[in-house]
């Protein structure tokens, strides 16, 4: 009995210990190695602040934040993840702080919310990849994947768990219609998990070809010569690494400072180190021979109408996708 009562007291103490006012919480889908690089520099820049990271896939972050909104208990001081359409919805629900940072004017207008609720801080890029041991004549475009030739050979991440995969699926559906998604299903696409799981399926030979983020591929291609990158002829899909400040952030001023810091050369270079493209042209991207402009010119078009359209039908798109995949 004594052990139990001591334990209970300990739990109550641990549970109810007050949170440190100097804590700054960042919810992000950035990779662990990027966070590892960012942490000491942020700490140096803001020595009195303890930075806390909640790292998860974009869709897990949105589920967590949605639950926090419902309980009126938002802890995050800064949000940074890939699902732009979710941020658009949060902005419309007035859950985000409109902030016109001095950097906002420098960011291309397609990548900033008209009401300054959110902004893109860097570019992950969705390309395709294949295992050269399994196929010698890889597909050339996203459109090719719908051909019967690729039956039982395709994989992708799930739009339900990965923000970048939702964006990709939504953009492909927007361009090629639901028939395209149905053909992927009849080709038995394995559409599950995040981008790392796609790489794994290519590596272990479960699937020959798939779409996956360039940053994941650049981490692996030097070590695993079997895996090759495809820059799709119908265009890459530019993703967005969105940043926003929750309206209920406990320290708005600090949120703004750190928001701005992510546009500094120092922060942008760390982002490049993790193989994403920086938001500004003056900083070199991870592939010197392929500057950001190359990808922007060869990508599926982003415009405010696309964003609005996909944001408004976000739920329907996911529901329809689920229906097709499980019928």
């Amino acid at each position: 009995m004594k052990i139990f009562s001591k334990l209970l007291i300990l739990i109550i103490i641990v549970s109810c210990s007050k949170s440190n006012k100097n804590e700054f919480w960042i919810y992000t889908s950035l990779y662990k190695d990027t966070i590892k690089d960012l942490s000491p520099i942020l700490h140096k820049k803001f020595p009195n602040i303890t930075f806390k990271w909640y790292q998860a896939g974009s869709e897990d972050i949105s589920t967590k934040v949605n639950a926090e909104i419902l309980t009126d208990n938002i802890k995050a001081n800064l949000l940074m993840s890939a699902d732009r359409f979710w941020y658009h919805e949060l902005g419309n629900l007035e859950k985000l702080l409109p902030y016109k940072s001095s950097y906002a004017t420098k960011v291309p207008k397609e990548y900033i919310d008209l009401n300054f609720n959110y902004i893109n801080v860097s570019f992950p890029i969705m390309v395709m990849a294949y295992n050269s041991e399994l196929t010698k004549s890889p597909p050339k475009s996203f459109k090719d994947l719908a051909k019967q030739k690729w039956k039982n050979k395709i994989t992708s991440g799930s739009p339900l768990s990965s923000g970048t995969n939702f964006t990709t699926m939504a953009m492909l559906q927007n361009s090629y219609g639901w028939d395209y998604i149905k053909k992927l299903k009849s080709n038995n696409i394995i559409s599950q998990g995040g981008n790392s799981s796609v790489i794994r399926r290519l590596q272990n030979g479960q699937r020959a070809v798939g779409w996956v983020l360039l940053e994941n591929l650049l981490r692996i291609v030097k070590k695993d010569k079997r895996i090759k990158i495809i820059y799709p002829e119908d265009g890459v899909i530019m993703q967005t690494n969105i940043m926003a400040i929750p309206k209920q952030s406990s320290n708005i001023e600090l949120s703004k400072k750190i928001y701005d810091w992510f546009f500094s050369d120092q922060a942008q270079k760390i982002i490049v180190k993790s193989h994403m493209y920086p938001i500004f042209n003056h900083i070199k991207g991870p592939i010197p021979e392929k500057p950001l402009k190359y990808f922007l010119d060869n990508s599926f078009a982003w415009d405010k109408f696309t964003v609005e359209k996909i944001s408004n039908s976000r739920m329907e798109i996911k529901e329809k996708y689920t229906e097709i995949m499980f019928k």
């Binding site: 334990l7 549970s15 662990k32 909640y54 589920t63 790392s196 794994r200 695993d224």
Partner: protein, 552 residues
Amino acid sequence: MRNISVSHKILILISFLLIFVLCVYPYLNFFNKIFIESFNLKLIIKVFTSSMFVKALFNSLKLALLVSLLCSLVATPLAWLLTRTNLKTRQIWKKLFTLSYAIPPYLGAIAWIKLCNPSNGILNNILGVNFNIYSITGLTIVLSSFFFTFILLNLMDTLGRMDATYEEAALLSGSSYIGVFFKITFPLIKNSFLSGFFLIFLSVMASFGVPAIIGIPGGIFLLTTQIYTYQKLGSLSGIYMSGILAHGLFLITFVLIMIQIYLQKKSYKLVSGKSSRLNLIKLRKSQPYINIILFILFFIIFILPILTLLISALSKTQGIYSFKNFTLDNFKYLFSLNETLRSFRNSLILSSSVTLICLFLGFIFSYVVFTLGKSKKQLINFLISLPYSTPGTVLALAIIFSFGGKVFGVNLGLYNTIGLIIISYIIKYLYFSFKTTEDAFYQVDISLIEAAKLSGAKWHHILIDIWYPMVKPAILASAFLIFLPALSELTMTILLTGPGLETIGTLLFQLQEYSDITGGTASALAIIVILLIMVLFLLFQLLNLVIKREKI
């Protein structure tokens, strides 16, 4: 109630209060949020009239039934073989088969995909077959390879404590061993069997991890997949829809528990105060063959998945099977992450504290239920089993709603603290300690207690000096049932965790799905977790030995 002391009444009152706060309040709160505060008839109709709902319901029931039946077919004869025969190696097999409960099913599923995926499954290639793991059969086999331990542990415990005089009497009267099993043994162990059977049925209905990795690529849509899909629609109405469907699942759970209670109406006493030596069936020439069969079974269930994970953990590049490709880099990278040690520390704190609290509460609640009689038993049984049969993600949402903000008007500040995760684990796993201990209470011959009462013993003396030693093996068995799944719990933790609160489960998931650059780090972590579990398992065994010696 009339003849019991004030202190006893207080114990009953506190127990009811705790059961209400842990097992009823989150649901009432959740129900209020979904169906009263945010009532939306359109959404309710949409959820229950969706064609996917019917499909998901049918698939879930079918899968749960298949897994429960397969587990029964494997675990019942196995439990009998390991407790009722003179198989020389039975003590070793008992421990080894129990071990497979220790591997988190999520890890097993990853290994089985590597072994039996239709494109290039290692086992498929070796055997020259084309078994598709992404199928209802694949899902049934993988889930059964973990869940069969629920029936096995229950039956081994009951058979081990069973009074053998009934069987001996039947044998002396000329019955055959098979006749004795069906006419004497099975009716005696029926309740334990049904507990295990329904526990598996409800666990499969509520399981998400394995169905997600194996079922989703195979297009097998379950109720939990639908709940997950709604949650991941990324909108607030999606969360409401998942809540609405979760209530549908509660209803099914309610019906299943009622069926279980109806089937378990009649119970028999298994343990009397007198000792009785078991009359073991003599196996002679068949022993080596049985050992070979058991080894093959154990190899498939346990060794094969671990070997697969080990190869992946040691591979520099995934999918290349050569000694040259072996490296320790994945382990080095794993320990270069700040979160790794933190996740082990957090998981150990969580699982040990939750186990202790659950054992304590399970023992007290079982006692209270036993003293109150059968009418209250059914209700309490239902209330405590509800969280276990609720999908983890939904339970986590109900807990966030109920304990994340204000609790009865007081802000406890539990959100994003280890305290909230502890509460959620207690709610989820209390059923194990309660059910196992409660079953043991009903199997003790009441004459011992009556004798103590006649001698003037007070209720707390009876509880500590008679009940506790009698049900101690069951309490210890439930410790094992709680500690190990809590150590690597994922589905609830992923929503409840916050900065600095990483657990083994969440780290595994993050590595597996998002952040595993080398592709083998998740497997490296899995191997370390399995090693840790084996060490803990040995400790449990030692503890068991100590308790047995104390008895002697």
